[in-house]
Amino acid sequence: MLRKKRTYDPILPASGDWPIVQLSRNKKQFIKEVIAASVENIKSLTGGGKQLMDELESTRYREKTRIRRDPWKVDPKDDLKYWDGIKSQLVDISNSENNQEKEAEVVLKSIVSRYAYEILSNFKRSHYKMARAIATFGFARLLNASRIPGIRSLWSKELTLQDKIHITGDVQGIRNLAQKGTVIMVPTHFSNLDSILVGWVIHILGLPAFIYGAGLNLFNMKLFAYFMNSLGAYKVDRRKKNRVYLETLRTYSRLAIVKGCHSIFFPGGTRSRSGKLESKLKLGLLNSTVEAQRSAYMTSDDPTTAQKVFIVPVVLNYHFVLEAPALIDQYLKQKGQERYYVDNDQYSTSYKVFKFLLKFFFKGSDISVSIGRGMDVLGNYVDQDGNSIGKDGEIIQTWEYFMHQGKIQVNKQRENEYTNMLSNVIVEEYHRVNQVFASHLVAFVAFEMIKNKYQDNDLYNILRLSEEDATLAYVDFKQKTGALLDVILNMHQEGRIDIAEHLQNELDSVIKIGLNNVGMYHAQRPLVKTKEGNISTQNLNLLYYYHNRLMGYDFEKYI
């Protein structure tokens, strides 16, 4: 079936106007500001003096441990030498009588600069265009090659990515907001494919490039590093958990937002191991959006003209997540309290990622990208002009949240609480725009039925059931699926959840689509129809993973 394609004109046709381009033009100035602001923050956080020295010493110690225990290819060659140098500087300072504070600050500045330059995105406009063209062209060609037989298919225009990837939701909203202020896109995170997918969506919607934090480990791969640098990624090193690093990172992202750089955060932190929709978000980066908004209000003479920050939740949906077996494995091990497990990411080389993409586009599998409604940093929905709207439709002045006795003020605890509130609203919005696929539906029903059948067993016992024990009679399965489908369709009517188009088919057809698509390329299928026409599974862990997608709606009671 060919869907109607929509194309969107770029909202800023000349890429020279893009905030990210301007930022990279003034890179030196920007980095200077990041360094200065981070140094100030860390000084005030630690309280300076002796505590600052302790902080630096602990940073050095942690870095040394990291270098010894967990070195990466991408690490700078002089890492060890640098931190040894810091060590002797710190020793000198504590031995000297005067000026300790000043000298400690010099060391702090040196470390912060090193971090800031490492984080810095190497965005280049020409590279961006090329990388994007390669990605889009490449994907589209592969897709056509797989769908239309014969060599000529490589040049066919019949099928494009848009036939496979459905973008739904408030598309016009995000385009409007990107012209009114800084957009922070906060997508769910299920797969390594997500960042590429989101990058492509941004391009299709005619939005200027976004910046985003990508794991430094991904820069280990040359091909990936090239793409990501070009696509505006800055580097996030999850090994570095010291305060100096985290504060530099937060300052970097905060200042970029203030400068109007649209950004992407994956607020769940890492890919969802369980397959559940995110319910707990990492608050650190979200907090920097609240801070950025407040500082934009504070530094502007008139808050009505200050740069406004908009949060746009986005839900990505797949029938099939390639990494599912590894992800759910990690999740179960973690939940099972097995303390030691190796994070052996199977898809950590360029080759493997390439193979995945090939498989994915060669065989095809539907993906949906649901764009949620834009909101301000307090979680109030905004209208198309970017005004925050209250429950009764009244306009809310967002800066008033940061005011006390007529002045906009800094209050970290208050902003932490605002971040919590924002996080809750984002999670709600995820659940509201989440698009139910038939594959999620059948997986959910089947696993819940198995669970009910073995009520006295805990999860781990259920996951060890044999294929025969986990077999369900088709009649029962169909009846329960129909019941839950009705509930979901009702909720959809009320605007509380979204559904894929195919969910409006006849029940038998919905089930068929679900069974055919759920985790379709895994060696062991999460759901199969037996010779007798009943429903069974080849891998309960995977069934559990795909089932989890519909958790959080209280659907259990309908099974």
Binding site: L378, K391, Q397, T398, E400, H404, Q405, Q413
Partner: protein, 348 residues
């Protein structure tokens, strides 16, 4: 921070019942207070005699009949109105509120949209709201707080020593509450568990009615101690299911307030229990009472919640039957004493 006395800061109080007026007087020791009342009589009395129901009011307390006045002059407002009227009051106030407003309420009851007169209706947590939740649902205000503790209005009015808890997720709200209320005779503690502290204040009224019954039946301290300790356990069972932290219940707003309301004939809820024991019917009692006894309403809501959440709550259940199903008080006591025993404390 604004200094005491000298500032031009004005603080609002909404509600001119006995607790609202006491709060207004406490605040007036530090700052100017605007007291909202919907009663023209009270307004006139305050303007002409600087008193309310013949109780002298501090000269810093000025009345208004107008929400706009209070909201535009006061960044910090203390709503003290019965739970049954709270939502409507906030709705009327809401158009005047801004995100910078701070609302610290002192209302000790549930809000529920469900027809709670219908005894079969089952309530979920989502059908029942605390006052801070109502404020957030009905207005743009996010900085909410609540005030709870052993604060019998009549004792506070004659300046006896006491303490209270201000709970809020925002440290600044606690800070302002302390700044405005603390005095030589009044201590103010802080808590970040606003839901827990709100639930303490709400649920203790159930036990207060039971204490009144025991008192009315002429029982002594053993019986009261039994009631208070088992009552606390019941509060904790339900309270923690509704989102409160156990810690709140063993603090000033929990056990502290419980002991005060179960011991004092000054408490309205206690009085309701006492009159029940003396053989009056609920409707007779309610007709005679000049102010709301929140416990009467709370028992109904709590009973339905414990049913739907599957919580053992013998005291609440028996009280519900006395109040709404004409169970005789003496029979009720027999039933209660026969209730199958469980472990004394199983929640810590």
């Amino acid at each position: 921070m604004t200094s005491r006395n000298t500032s031009k800061e004005m603080v609002g109080v909404i509600g001119s019942g006995s607790f609202g007026t006491v709060i207004a007087n406490l605040l007036a020791q530090q700052t100017k207070v605007i007291l909202y009342t919907r009663s023209q009589n009270i307004y006139d009395e305050l303007v002409s005699k600087q008193s309310i129901r013949s109780m002298a009011m501090h000269e810093n307390v000025q009345p208004t009949l107008n929400f706009e006045t209070i909201a535009s002059n006061c960044e910090i407002i203390f709503p003290v109105v019965p739970s049954a009227n709270f939502r409507n009051m906030i709705r009327d106030l809401a158009p005047n509120l801004h995100p910078y407003h701070i609302l610290i309420h002192a209302t000790k009851g549930f809000d529920t949209s469900i027809d709670y007169n219908h005894s079969e209706s089952k309530l979920d947590r989502s059908d029942v709201h605390t006052m801070s939740e109502v404020i957030q649902q009905e207005s743009v205000v996010v900085k909410t707080g609540c005030l709870a503790g052993p604060n019998l209005a009549k004792e506070l009015a004659i300046n006896q020593p006491a303490a209270t808890v201000i709970a809020s997720r925002f440290e600044e709200v606690i800070h302002h509450g302390q700044r405005l209320l603390r005095s030589d005779r009044f201590q103010v503690y802080g808590s970040s568990d606003i839901t827990g502290i709100e639930l303490c204040g709400i649920l203790k009224n159930i036990i207060a009615i039971a204490a009144g019954i025991l008192h009315g039946l002429g029982f002594g301290e053993n019986a009261k101690a039994l009631l208070i300790s088992r009552g606390l356990v019941e509060m904790i069972y339900l309270g923690s299911k509704l989102g409160g932290n156990i810690k709140a219940f063993i603090g000033l707003a929990g056990v502290g307030d419980l002991v005060a309301t179960c011991s004092s004939t000054l408490s309205r809820n206690f009085t309701v229990g006492q009159l029940l024991a003396e053989g009056q019917s609920l409707s007779e009692i309610m007709n005679d009472l000049d102010e709301t006894a929140e416990g009467v309403r709370t028992i109904k809501v709590a009973y339905q919640l414990t049913k739907s959440l599957g919580i053992r709550s013998p005291i609440t259940e028996i009280l519900y039957k006395i109040l709404y199903q004409d169970l005789k008080v003496n029979e009720a006591l027999n039933l209660l004493m026969k209730f199958p025993m469980q472990e004394d404390i199983d929640f810590l």
